[in-house]
């Protein structure tokens, strides 16, 4: 049966109606707020290499202690590591230290190689890792130019004293999966939910020292925040002439910005 004129008319009216409704809804909705883009700045001129951030990160994120059988094999796990670069020898020796969390690249090589979608970029730019999905192929650890990903070569172990102090907001990872820094996304989620319950807008101050490393840093060298907000502390520091990123020429576009007066020798 051919559609009658009435049928056609009905369809057209319905379509126009739907379109009008859609437009109405779009107008009624608030002007789309720009998504957050989490980033970090690390001021090397402030950093004293005390490693408080390394310890804080380990305890916040239930990162296991590799123990005497794994450490000699270089299988320790550090979501936040302190890299040391030594030049020359005594008395002219010079050491430089670099706290290194995951760079949460905007163009992350690790995400591209994951065959199972266990690692991905979240809506807010965090490079996440769902270990329950991870098959332990370690393509990502190889793809990461910064070596910021760690494979669990053994089941996690903690000293007896620490067993009852694990953070319930972070899942522990079993043997055979890859893990990495998440910018303490559990803290971001908690503060966002809390603000929603209290009915208030989040400000830069809520994030500045949110991750465990930033919270702990006694020199206030580590700052965290929204890089899409031009007025945030991280955006401001990111515009500093002292700012640089690691291996910038790779095109990974890290969201961790380092600050240093002297030229950094890589």
């Amino acid at each position: 049966m051919n559609p009658t004129r009435r049928d056609v008319l009905k369809t057209v009216v319905a379509a126009v109606g739907a379109a009008a409704l859609g437009a109405g809804e779009a107008l009624a909705a608030e002007p789309a707020k720009k998504k957050r883009k989490w980033g970090m700045t690390i001021d090397l001129d402030r950093c004293t290499a005390c490693q408080a951030c390394v310890v804080a990160c380990k305890s916040e994120n239930n990162v296991p202690c590799a123990g005497p059988d794994q450490m000699p094999l270089d299988r320790g796990i550090y979501w936040m590591d302190m890299l040391a670069i030594h030049e020359g020898s005594h008395p002219e020796g010079r050491s430089q230290y670099l706290p290194t969390p995951c760079n949460h690249c905007e163009n992350p090589p690790c995400v591209k190689v994951c065959p199972v979608g266990a690692t991905f970029q979240s809506e807010e730019g965090i490079v996440g890792q769902i270990w329950a999905r991870c098959i332990g192929c370690r393509y990502c650890t190889t793809a990461c130019p910064y070596s910021r990903r760690y494979f669990n070569w053994s089941d996690p172990v903690w000293p007896e004293e620490m067993k009852n102090h694990l953070n319930p907001d972070v899942a522990t990872r079993p043997k055979g999966v890859v893990e990495k820094c998440t910018f303490c996304h559990q803290r971001i989620r908690a503060v966002q939910e809390k603000a929603k319950v209290e009915g208030r807008e989040l400000e830069d101050g809520d994030f500045r020292k949110l991750p465990a490393c930033a919270q702990t840093c006694p020199a206030e060298a580590i700052m965290f925040g929204d890089m899409n907000d031009p007025d945030s502390t991280v955006s401001e520091l990111g515009r500093s002439p002292r700012a640089f990123r690691l291996l910038e020429d790779l095109g990974t576009r890290p969201k961790v910005v380092f600050l240093r007066e002297a030229k950094w020798k890589e």
Partner: protein
């Protein structure tokens, strides 16, 4: 050499058996993480407490549903202070409450509705913001006379979460629900 070597056949048979039994045990252990039914230290009766005379609502006791991720269960001291100083009924379960309170012990409730350790779920998002009724996920708790058992929790899987989130236009970002 003949291909129908009986030893190979037997070996293949054993291997198949191992895979089958192993798979079965694995699947069983996954779905039987908790004994079924769970025996709670005190057999709490929801129906009695939801009697209209008392004027209680779910969030009178599970206060956390309006505040944060966990629904929470009231402390024994709260039960005693607000109601159970004197016996309220004839149930043999009730004295256990005062016993625990007198010793200053918490009642070691076993959490039945429990997601795996790598999942983050938040009550406040669903109860306060999405305005969902408890029964959409927990069934008719107000008619329950005995504690919930494991079997009812199987609905809270990732597909259920994702289907509704997609339908309602809520985020399905892995990091929203995983930790």
């Amino acid at each position: 050499m003949s291909t129908s070597n009986p030893r190979i056949l037997v070996a293949a048979g054993i291997a198949a058996l191992v895979v089958l039994v192993g798979g079965g045990v694995f699947a069983y252990s996954r779905y039987k993480a908790l004994p079924d039914p769970v025996t709670q230290p005190v057999l709490f009766n929801h129906k009695i407490h939801m009697d209209e005379k008392l004027g209680l609502t779910c969030d009178s006791c599970h206060k956390g549903v309006n505040e944060g991720p966990h629904a929470t269960i009231p402390a024994v001291a709260t039960c005693i202070k607000l109601c159970h100083t004197d016996p309220q009924g004839t149930s043999p379960e009730e004295p256990k409450l005062r016993e625990a309170a007198a010793k200053g012990n918490a009642i070691p409730w076993i959490q039945v509705n429990k997601l795996p350790g790598h999942v983050y779920f938040s009550h406040v998002q669903h109860v306060k913001f999405a305005k969902m009724d408890c029964k959409e996920c927990h069934g008719e708790m107000k008619d329950r006379t005995e504690p919930v058992s494991q079997t009812q929790t199987s609905r809270l899987d990732m597909d259920t979460c994702i289907d509704c989130h997609q339908e309602k236009g809520v985020s399905t970002d892995c990091l929203r629900c995983h930790k």
